[in-house]
Amino acid sequence: MDADVLKGGFADAPIEAAHAFRAAMTAIARPGKIETLKGAVPPAPMSVAAGTLVLTLCDPDTPVFLVGEWDCQPVRDWIAFHVGAPIVGAAEAMFAIGDWAGLAPHTQFAIGTPEYPDRSATLIVECDALKADGAVLRGPGIKDTASMGLPEVDAFQMNAMLFPLGLDFFFTSGDQVSALPRTTKVEAA
């Protein structure tokens, strides 16, 4: 095991995790809003924001699914050491991390059950950049409308139709995060 794996965790876990959670909560409560999320320094290709989300939300109780370049030994070792989350297949995952293309098809993830819609996966989508303009968003957390650059529109419209079931998305790039819960209605600009 490479000694680098041991690095990149929170320096002061309770405090940094508290700040990180507030950023993540603000992001999901206000779809389209871009928040700063930092503290973790995960191995490439994982972004600082995605790594911080993993440290803040994942532990041995949360199976994680890695896709594409993110499913590499340094990332697996880093998650194993800092978080202890089991790495699993898509269907069992509570969190999935990767780029948009790698995460397809989105039907492979758990969307919850009618009795327990919370038993659904949260997707952490790594992006090149987060853009504030793009698709038009409406729904809870948004006063009138908001806008947000999205990799595509159809998948999120399909996801919103599943409500109260469905997936919830975080988008990460560098130390920035934004989110799209299943309640948000998306329209192409």
């Binding site: 939300l57 819609p117 919370d118 006063k143 109260p164 309640t183």
Partner: protein, 289 residues
């Protein structure tokens, strides 16, 4: 090593609560089960709200606690002291100065801003519980959106009393989907739930967390011919003269004398500081306790 972990709870517990809060915000009005911990206070004293606050607070926050609108009652004082000791956060009694407000059974009179979070203490999170005691059944009713029973209950109110007699914990429908218990706030506060701040609900004994994102549609259940009415005592505050605030009735003596005062102590005090005087009030003095 005599210090508490920041905000009392261990990190794994906070992660579990945080995941529940995020799912709660993604499914507004749905009650997310969580593994509620024993807290150093009895059930019924806000163990759910305290756990949600502990998972939400950062050291930069200013924390306010109200119990039925008051900052100076036992429950509010003890929870405020708890977080002063375990999280070292600044505390305040001013609603406008607080970033996180934990509340038992009231929403502050001052409108909340976007940067404020309201945490409710919830005794019974299931709005259908008194109509259907089985959790298996109520869960199925929520999944099938089968809320007829709740309307029958409100109808029976009208049949018996001539009006919807439910005056607190008045059921609401969130985003046209989940019927939710707003916790035992007076129905006067129901319209305020469509607010700019984030609202989080914690029920410790019942092990449920639910949430409302900002600007979420929250509709109080009613009938076309018996519309919802956000009622309050038909009186002005006797201390500050406010006519728009929710009032508590205080019995003054054995002779039947009583007075009405704002339930929100911060609202009342700030009005008195601004020079408003009610029918039985005295001008505000800085030294007055």
């Amino acid at each position: 090593m005599s210090d508490y972990n920041f905000a009392y709870l261990d990190e794994q517990t906070k992660r579990m609560i945080r995941r529940a809060i995020l799912k709660g915000l993604a499914i507004p009005g749905y009650q997310v089960p969580f593994a509620s911990r024993e807290m150093p206070m009895p059930y019924g004293w806000g163990t759910g709200g305290v756990q949600v606050s502990a998972a939400t607070l950062t050291p930069d926050d200013t924390f306010k606690v109200i119990d039925q609108g008051a900052d100076d009652t036992t429950n509010a004082v003890s929870i405020r002291k708890f977080f002063e000791k375990t999280a070292g956060v600044a505390t305040t009694e001013e609603a406008s100065a607080a970033s996180v407000i934990q509340t038992r059974h009231r929403i502050p009179e001052d409108e909340l801003r976007e940067d404020q979070i309201l945490v409710y203490q919830v005794p019974i999170p299931e709005p259908l519980r008194f109509l259907e005691p089985s959790e298996v059944e109520t869960r199925k009713m929520h999944s099938l959106e089968e809320y007829g029973l709740m309307h029958v209950k409100l109808y029976e109110d009208i049949a018996k009393h001539g009006a919807i007699a439910t005056s607190y914990a008045y059921p609401v429908k969130v985003e046209g989907r989940y019927v939710m218990d707003p916790s035992p706030i007076p129905k006067f506060d129901n319209p305020k739930m469509e607010m700019a701040g984030i609202q989080l609900f914690g029920a410790g004994r019942e092990q449920r967390i639910y949430a409302l994102p900002p600007y979420c549609q929250v509709v109080s259940l009613d009938f076309e011919d018996f519309p919802f009415e956000a009622s309050k005592a038909d009186h002005a505050c006797d201390m500050c003269g406010a006519t728009d605030s929710y009032l508590d009735e205080v019995i003054m003596d054995d002779a039947g004398n009583r007075m009405f005062v704002c339930s929100d102590t911060d609202y009342c005090a700030s009005r008195r500081k601004a020079g408003h005087v009610g029918a039985q009030g005295t001008p505000f003095e800085e030294t007055a306790a």
